[in-house]
Assembly symmetry: C2
Homo-oligomer: 142 residues x 2
DNA sequence: ATGCAAATGCAAATGGTTCGCATTTGTGTT
DNA sequence: AACACAAATGCGAACCATTTGCATTTGCAT
């Protein structure tokens, strides 16, 4: 995976400490983060940033497709993750909120079939799986 | 499909004009509606209701699984539809927002396979298709 | 017809996100 | 290395969808 620096260069974005830090945090996170999650993590590391800057940086990243904005069932906030290069789908743990990305897709054939059947020109789909990851499964059954 | 009256009876909910009207509007709609959409439609029909009541009625209906709350890519509001009895997935027109519900599911096998592979206990999934319905496809290509 | 829990209206509060504007900073150019 | 200027940032206020508190009304079992 690209380094945060490379990501910014690639999109002609200025390399600011804030932007690099946000990319680094997202890169190291195994779950989605809200703007406020990022803001608080940065405060913890003594990065002086304002919440509106976090929002603006994320807006820029989403526009450039460096970051994806995600809606999940368990939160009404918009959550963010580093964008994935390959098409795939997510396994989301409803207990700890960990996310695993699976680069595989079971719906393309179905998509063709229903495009035909319903005369719909399907452009994309959104498929997420919700359940318990192995740790939470073990923990909750004990 | 059940009548609005039956739906309320079935769940021991008082039959108020507001509730019946909301169910009727949702029943007749071929797309998702926001609380505010419902509020405005009711005002148009001279139903005197307050927006907070619309929210409270919807909250009750969602709790009873009479109505589903839906998040879609093109709106940050929560949208509502009558709940479907059978499992299926939606084709959502990104242009006119019409929704077609397809009572078929292409992912169960895949779900079993990845449950195994990632040791995830998958409880449910969310799959929506976005594209153009036949009318919009025709209209936009002309 | 009566009583009471549930439903409603209204206004205020909330929470996430966006915006306006003054100030600072990164970076290409001299 | 200093300059210039567009872009990035901080701060607070604004915004919008949704929720809540509380006083009043209403459906419905008795």
């Amino acid at each position: 995976m690209k380094t945060p620096e490379k990501m910014l260069e690639l999109h002609n974005l200025k390399k600011t400490g804030h932007r690099l830090m946000i990319l680094t945090i997202l890169k190291e996170s195994d779950r989605f983060l809200s703007a406020d999650d990022l803001y608080m993590k940065m405060k913890e590391e003594d990065e002086n940033i304002s919440l509106s800057t976090v929002y603006r940086i994320l807006e820029t990243f989403v526009l450039k497709s460096i970051v994806s904005a995600v809606n999940v069932e368990f939160s009404k906030k918009v959550l963010y993750e580093l964008a994935h290069e390959a098409h795939g789908h997510r396994l989301i743990c409803t207990n700890c909120h960990k996310v695993v990305y699976v680069e595989d897709c079971p719906v393309h054939n179905f998509e063709d079939a229903i495009s035909e059947e319903y005369d719909f020109d399907i452009k994309r789909h959104k498929l997420d799986f919700y359940g318990l990851c192995s740790e939470c499964k073990a923990e909750l059954s004990s």
